[in-house]
């Protein structure tokens, strides 16, 4: 009897403290949500985005915050579980009343939260390259659209320096991003005169760990004709077994180069990169890019990782493209809030257009006045033996995003700005 009473009392005390403390904090801070998988198959990529977001928020707070108020991050873990993303997004918006959410990596998670953000007219900043074919008023896309990553990468593979590839293996994880990207790439390759028999498409489930057959198939396909290249849209921790198998089976970059769109410095951390030298990745940022802004960004991250003793990064700090995109996204949002003098989503959306930010990638990134995407430079890097990338090709300057790919015929005539559906609301 006594024990039960004690339990009840404890519960009541907990509930009370929760109720009392929340409103007290909300008065003098602005809450922002961080929605990244901290467990499950995507944790390999997303965990560090949570940390870099916290670092950026600390940085902004150290300079006095936004509108004179400190930012207060609310971190949730949707655990690589797509429906859970929507649930957690609802919680952030309805319960925590956050001013904006920074999060998502896979397109399937973004598609899952999209209705939540549109319905409650909230703001999502999405920091990862994706397949395009989407333009929501409530989302700012700070990663690359296909014309800022996939298309230039394939063009490079077809160039003399990229190995004049004539046959392509489109390899990906089985979900919306790889399927759509490969649809666009297939249409693009057709436009370059490459026939269907010279294109092989392969998909594996999330978390797939046995790449023996796939590598065997690539070898066979490569032996059946001219120079072959692989375009990989494999996402998450499957990349580790994929690259291990690639190295063990001795498929060298000089024979069959693999260009990846979701593999950066962080994903290669646990992999022996010596057999992988020369395989490629296309991004809008690499850690190895040399300029003062990037040096400062890397230093800030290294110090932060050491101070917070972030696993892995405290000994070997690494930065990558989605980290840069997260960093840009949060800063631009803060600038827009200052400009709008309000955190009201509609006012912030209006203030976002044309925002600029000096990005660690070495260029000033501009938010397009209309299409909610950044103008970004494109880099192609080859993996070096130390797990870093050697930039072998880059665009002369930032490129405007085309969310609606011109290579998909149905996109003809679609507007390059979010369509606000009046009938729906």
């Amino acid at each position: 009897m006594k024990r039960r009473f004690a339990l009840k009392a404890a519960c009541a005390a907990l509930a009370a403290s929760g109720l009392v403390s929340l409103p007290a904090l909300a008065a003098d801070t602005i809450k922002v949500g961080i929605l990244h998988s901290l467990s499950g198959t995507m944790a390999i990529s997303e965990t560090v985005l949570k940390d870099v977001a916290l670092m950026t928020i600390d940085e902004i707070n150290a300079k006095g915050g936004v509108l004179g108020k400190k930012l207060e991050p609310v971190v949730v873990d949707p655990a690589s579980n797509w429906p859970l993303f929507a649930e957690k997004a609802k919680q952030l918006i309805a319960q925590d009343k956050v001013a904006a959410v920074f999060g998502c990596w896979t397109s399937v998670s973004r598609k899952s939260v999209l209705p939540v953000f549109e319905e409650s007219n909230a703001l999502l900043f999405y920091p990862v390259q994706y397949e395009g074919e989407e333009l929501s008023k409530n989302v700012f896309y700070t990663g690359a659209a296909p014309n800022q990553q996939a298309i230039p990468a394939v063009e490079y593979l077809m160039s003399k320096d990229g190995g004049s590839a004539k046959r392509f293996v489109l390899l990906g994880t089985d979900y919306v991003y790889p399927r759509t990207t490969n649809k666009i790439l297939r249409a693009f390759l057709h436009s370059k005169g490459i026939k269907d028999e010279d294109i092989m498409e392969e998909y594996t489930p999330f978390g797939h760990s046995d790449y023996q057959t796939i590598i065997g198939k690539i070898k066979k396909f490569a032996a059946e004709g001219k120079k072959t290249a692989v375009v990989s849209t494999i996402n998450g921790d499957s990349n580790v077994p994929f690259y291990k198998e690639l190295g063990n089976q001795g498929l060298k970059a000089t024979d069959v180069p693999v260009v990846a769109f979701s593999v950066g410095e962080e994903e290669l951390r646990g992999v022996d990169t010596k057999p992988l030298v020369g395989h490629l990745a296309a991004w809008n940022y690499f850690m190895s890019i040399k300029n003062p802004t990037n040096t400062a960004f890397i230093k800030e991250w290294s110090d932060y990782a050491k101070a917070k003793s972030i696993a892995g990064h405290k000994d070997k700090p690494l930065t990558n493209d989605p980290m840069e995109a997260t960093y840009i996204g949060i800063h631009m949002w803060a600038q827009a809030v200052e400009k709008a003098k309000s955190t009201d989503p509609d006012k912030v959306i209006a203030a976002m257009s044309g925002q600029t930010f000096k990005a660690p990638g070495g260029f000033t990134s501009t938010m397009d006045p209309k299409n909610h995407h950044l103008h970004k430079p494109v880099f192609i890097g080859e993996i070096k033996s130390d797990g870093q990338f050697n930039v072998v090709w880059k665009t002369p300057g930032p490129v405007k995003a085309q969310p609606w790919s011109p290579f998909i015929p149905e996109n003809k005539g679609k507007k390059d700005e979010p369509v606000i559906n009046v009938a729906k609301k």
Binding site: S39, S209, K217, G225, V240, N248, G250, R269, L280, K384
Partner: protein, 530 residues
């Protein structure tokens, strides 16, 4: 464009002036700086001279040890000592020297040039390795003189024949029709996939116009393809056995705890995960305290994982499962709960992210059996390991006193107890033994996949499938089912892709279990009811 042309011309001029002489500083610079076209031209011209300094420079370029400052190229060794690339004399690198970086195109040109230089080595072994290296790459027209030279000088019959074949890959596009015919006939003996794609390319509509040569090419292509097909078939069998041996390893522990003892242990996957995390810890201990013996960490990880998992198994059996014997539904729920507890414990201790387990160097890489069949060492090791563990389990069950007790207790508990067997102790030992085997499975999994708190989840279904399909209580059934499912999965994956193959295998198992509910190897006689 003009500047680019000028550079090429300059490079070539420099080379012509210096050819057949020692490497000049201008030559060294032309190989290290400029655009790829001029660098490759400079490289191939310098390589033709056969100067040993060229080989040293090419090797250094490949290793990324070359710096350029002003008008000079330097080779910087790992210890920081620098030499002048052309003369080989010690030198100091000026500040602000740029690293020379190579892209894939440059690297393959460098590799081919290096192999070319080694073709004229006096050591037969070096020459053989160089030929093997060159056979895999696609050669450039400009390398023909070098190969002709090596061919003329070659004394070893086997190598001479291989050089002739290599020469044929270049002569196949010669302007002389008879040379092309001879080359096609020669290439028919090849077993290289590079040759297959070369022949395919020559057969394209715009490449070869002569009908007779086309026929010869076609014939050569089909005989090369036939040889390569064997490599592909063997690869399917190997990958199937490899996947099968993984399935066997993960199911073997379950074959004891579920198959023999009848405990539906949903925490079996977590016992594997514990084995994998033990490997991770042992690896970290070796890295911190015995970095010199890092490659041997696996030898310590195997017994450690067995013991840790077996201990956890013993605690589980004594703490929970022994109260639930004969109540399968409660066991299922209780062990499932335990699996969640174990996962969360690991997540809280090691973090939710995967932990990196590095392969020891002797498990990286592979052995090339045929040009399109490379057997990775880690896969070979896991197949061998699976069979060693299997042999150990089979011996223990069939030949030892402990095995006799396990069989006795599982077949007739009351009778075993009557004749003086301590059945509770046997239960505990048998369960821990099964758990220990699961831990060994975890060691193997850590070498091929990701180690994270969810590791067990992805294998628990597979391991139950294998045990049920093989026939509960039958070790032989587990072996056949594990290997069979592995090969079947890989055969289907080759045809239908990974996603569909997984579905097809599950459908197959559903149908099979409906037809034969007691599995492949059904127990015969009255004991089956027990």
């Amino acid at each position: 464009m003009i500047r680019h042309l000028l550079r090429v011309v300059a490079a070539v001029l420099v080379l012509v002036a210096a050819s057949a002489h020692a490497l000049t500083p201008e030559q060294a610079l032309a190989m290290a700086a400029g655009d790829n076209d001029s660098r490759i031209a400079a490289l191939n011209a310098a390589a033709a001279s056969g100067d040993p300094r060229v080989a040293a420079l090419v090797q250094a370029l490949l290793d990324g040890n070359v710096k350029v400052a002003g008008e000079k190229a330097f080779i910087v060794a790992d210890d920081g000592k620098a030499v002048d690339a052309a003369s080989g004399a010690p030198a100091t690198v000026p500040d602000g020297a740029d690293d020379v970086s190579n892209n894939n195109r440059m690297r393959s040109a460098l590799e081919a040039a290096l192999a070319g230089l080694r073709l004229i080595s006096s050591d037969v072994g070096v020459r053989g390795a160089a030929i093997a290296e060159l056979a895999k790459s696609s050669l450039e027209e400009s390398q023909l003189p070098l190969i002709e030279k090596a061919f003329a000088a070659e004394t070893d019959d086997v190598l001479k024949a291989r050089l002739e074949r290599m020469r044929a890959t270049l002569l196949i596009s010669s302007s002389d029709r008879s040379k092309r015919l001879a080359a096609a006939a020669e290439l028919a003996h090849s077993n290289q996939s590079a040759v297959a794609s070369l022949l395919q390319e020559r057969l394209a509509a715009d490449a070869e116009s002569d009908a007779e040569v086309r026929a010869a090419l076609q014939q050569a292509l089909s005989s090369v393809r036939a040889r390569l097909a064997w490599g592909e078939r063997l690869a399917v069998v190997f990958t199937g056995i490899s996947l099968g041996s993984v399935l066997l390893l993960v199911a073997l522990g379950l074959a004891i705890t579920y198959g023999l003892m009848g405990v539906i242990n949903m925490a079996h996957g977590e016992l594997m995960m514990i084995g994998a995390y033990t490997t991770y810890i042992v690896q970290n201990i070796f890295r911190s305290y015995l970095p010199g013996a890092f490659d041997a960490y696996m030898l310590a990880a195997i017994p450690a994982a067995f013991i840790v998992s077996a201990l956890v198994g013993a605690v589980l059996e004594r703490g929970v499962i022994r109260f639930l014997y004969g109540r399968p539904l409660e066991t299922l729920l209780a062990t499932w709960g335990i699996s969640l507890v174990l996962q969360q414990t690991v997540r809280s201790t090691f973090g939710a992210q995967n932990v990196p387990v590095e392969n020891p160097s002797w498990l990286s890489g592979g052995v090339e059996v045929m040009s399109n069949l490379v057997l990775p060492f880690n896969r070979i090791a896991i197949i061998a390991f699976a069979f060693v563990v299997l042999g150990g389990v089979a011996l223990l069950i069939a030949r030892t006193r402990f095995g006799l007790f396990i069989r006795g207790v599982t077949q007739n508990r009351r009778m075993a107890s009557c004749v003086g067997v301590d059945t509770a102790k046997v239960d505990m030992l048998a369960f821990s033994f099964g758990a220990g085997i699961a831990g060994l499975g975890g060691v193997a999994l850590s070498q091929i996949g990701n180690v994270g708190p969810d590791l067990g989840q992805s294998y628990i279904v597979d391991s139950f499938l294998v045990v049920v399909l093989g026939g509960v209580g039958q070790l032989a059934g587990t072996v056949v089912a594990g290997l069979g499912l592995g090969v079947l999965n890989k055969l289907l994956e080759g045809v239908a892709g990974a996603v569909l193959a997984k579905i097809a295998v599950l459908v197959f198992i559903v149908i099979f279990i409906q037809r034969k509910p007691s599995g492949l190897f059904a127990m015969k006689g009255r004991s089956a009811e027990a």
